[in-house]
């Protein structure tokens, strides 16, 4: 029982990592209906900028987070302004934007590799770490921090999208952008805000996760964004906090499965879940009613 509980707790910690990145990804999706894969590149680049500020230039933790967030916000809004918005004006489908986003993910990922090298770099050497024990289940202070931050952001965004005018406006925009325009909503501005906030979340979470793992590498965004996609779909599209829920579910399933299945099959397992959800429950576990099925 205790082993199972430990796997469960590990799953929640791993899940909050997916949830953190999925929150920003889903926020952007909710506003723009674009699968913004380049979000993974924003995540990677901001981690490396934070690393440079902290380790290379020795500016301290606050400056490290600040620079990561600034670069993430700048890059995220730039991508929207320079690519998605002009494509949207031309009437290009979000399907093509998604492919464009893939190209961007490749470009930024490999540029990061050119500037910072292909070897992983050490962000945080660790050191004394407080370990809490609850009924013989171990969890470190930093892991608690990540879970707490994710829960806070998940609940905060749920409140924001449920009760605040701006949040409701962004949801309305995602549901029907033409109707939103007819009602005179500043659609482009709202989308830019969503890209900025979503990217800022990527900036924070990349460093948080970097501190937890200790090392970062140029490829970190690629798998993470795929897992965020899985998290968002199993959580349910169109509901930002549901993506966090999806992240937790994914993390827990992956870790509890470690009991029986070798860790090398984790990716395959996650995608099998994704395919099953797409086929049998396209609206996800907590999402709005909508269908991915059709010609």
């Amino acid at each position: 029982m205790n082993v199972f509980a430990q796997f469960l707790v590990n799953g929640i910690v791993a899940g909050s990592v997916y949830a953190l990145i999925a929150l920003g990804f889903a926020l952007i999706f909710t506003a723009s209906r674009v699968f913004h894969f380049a979000h993974g590149a924003v995540y990677t680049l901001s981690a490396f900028v934070g690393y440079s500020a902290l380790v290379i230039f020795n500016l301290g933790t606050i400056a490290s987070f600040a620079s990561a967030i600034i670069i993430a916000v700048a890059l995220g809004t730039l991508i929207n302004e320079a690519l998605y918005e002009p494509m949207r004006e031309l009437g290009v489908s979000s399907f093509v934007m998604m492919i464009c986003s893939f190209g961007l993910l490749i470009i930024i990922t490999h540029l990061t590799a050119i500037f910072w090298g292909t070897n992983p770099v050490v962000l945080w050497r660790g050191g004394q770490e407080t370990v809490h024990e609850f009924w013989s289940i171990r969890i470190t202070e930093r892991q608690l921090g990540i879970v707490g931050l994710t829960a806070l952001l998940g609940v905060g965004l749920w409140v924001f999208f449920k009760f605040f005018r701006l949040g409701i406006a962004i949801r309305a925009l995602g549901n029907d952008s033409e109707l939103a325009l007819i009602y005179g909503m500043p659609a482009r501005k709202l989308r830019n805000i969503s890209f900025a906030v979503g990217s800022a979340l990527a900036g924070v979470s990349s460093l948080m996760i970097g501190f937890n793992v200790g090392i970062i590498d140029f490829n970190m965004g690629f798998d993470v964004i795929l897992m965020a996609t899985v998290a968002m779909i199993i959580g349910g599209l169109g509901n930002v906090s549901a993506a966090a829920g999806g992240g937790f579910i994914l993390g827990v399933i992956q870790n509890v499965a470690l009991w029986k299945i070798d860790s090398k099959w984790q990716m395959a397992l996650s995608f099998s879940i994704l395919i099953l959800v797409l086929l049998f429950r396209p609206s996800g576990f907590f999402g709005e009613k909508q269908s991915a099925v059709g010609l």
Partner: protein
């Protein structure tokens, strides 16, 4: 000279892969990310047959293509029920699952892959030397080109174009859009898997890294740069995208950076073409990628 033959072989293989995917993209408007996986299935089946059973070229190619078809049906039957973006994400899922199998199963040799693969035989004659293997690769690419041309100009090709233009209209005259899409998928898988056979016999060793999701995206890049629905475009794109990065060799770039720069170049093309020229280099059907 040996290197030039190697490059030409690569061009022939990627031409086959791009043509096979182009039929799918150009005529159903669906982009599959599983192409590298199907290509890999063809390669692994060929390698295993050549090591254990037979290295007859035509026989291995036939069996590999059958395996490719089987896998692609497994992908297509569920995935084709999904709409654009969800279809693409589901195929990313299948690609990752297939890759995990290459990487983790014992029979595929894990991360080391399979090596010491014998030369193929054709009608009892052993095919040695890279030049004659190049000839086989080119023959497959030509076959793929002319079959695609024949298919697209046939009554079935008209039906495919109709599916591309207006699915509802096709469905309304009693044709099954789903069945048409599945047959294109199968057709596409046959040539992708056959390209895998050629790849194995030319390189005589395979490892899973050749069949990653990046490889799938590269094949998609070829189709988009060439032009969706344009067979000539896919051939041109394969030639250009294999040869152009070779020019980096003449620039003063450190060796470690060159492969990264190559990826940046491919990514840049994908972004620029989806943003500014969705009809590709020679395509005319802009409406497929609208």
């Amino acid at each position: 000279m040996e290197y030039a033959i190697y490059l030409c072989t690569l061009i022939a293989i990627y031409t086959t892969l791009a043509l096979s995917l182009n039929l799918l993209v150009g005529y159903t408007g669906l982009i599959s990310v599983t192409q590298a996986g199907v290509y890999g299935i063809g390669a692994y089946v060929t390698a295993l047959l050549a090591l254990n059973v037979t290295h007859d070229l035509l026989l291995t190619m036939l069996l590999s293509a059958s395996a490719g078809v089987a896998i692609s049906l497994l992908v297509a039957l569920p995935a084709l029920r999904l709409k654009n973006e969800y279809f693409l994400i589901a195929t990313i899922g299948f690609q990752s699952i297939i890759f995990a199998m290459f990487m983790n199963l014992d029979i595929t040799g894990g991360p080391n892959g399979l090596y010491d693969i014998p030369d193929p035989t054709l009608f009892g004659l052993v095919i040695k030397g890279s030049a004659s293997k190049l000839a086989i690769a080119v023959a497959l690419a030509l076959l793929c080109y002319f079959v695609s041309l024949r298919v697209t100009n046939s009554p079935f090709g008209r039906l495919l174009r109709a599916v591309r233009e207006d699915q509802t209209a096709v469905a309304s005259i009693g044709k099954s859009v789903f069945r048409i899409k599945v047959s294109v998928f199968v057709f596409s898988a046959i040539f992708a898997a056959a390209a895998g056979t050629i790849y194995v016999f030319c390189l005589k060793a395979i490892d899973p890294v050749a069949f990653t999701i990046d490889e799938s995206i590269f094949i998609i890049t070829l189709v988009i740069v060439g032009g969706t629905g344009s067979l000539n475009g896919s051939v041109l794109a394969a030639i250009l995208l294999i040869l152009l990065p070779e020019c980096f060799k003449f620039l003063p770039i450190p060796d470690a950076v060159a492969p990264q720069l190559r990826q940046v170049f491919y990514g840049l093309l994908l972004v620029l073409f989806t943003r500014f020229r969705r009809e590709g280099l020679v395509g005319k059907y802009q409406d497929v990628l609208k």
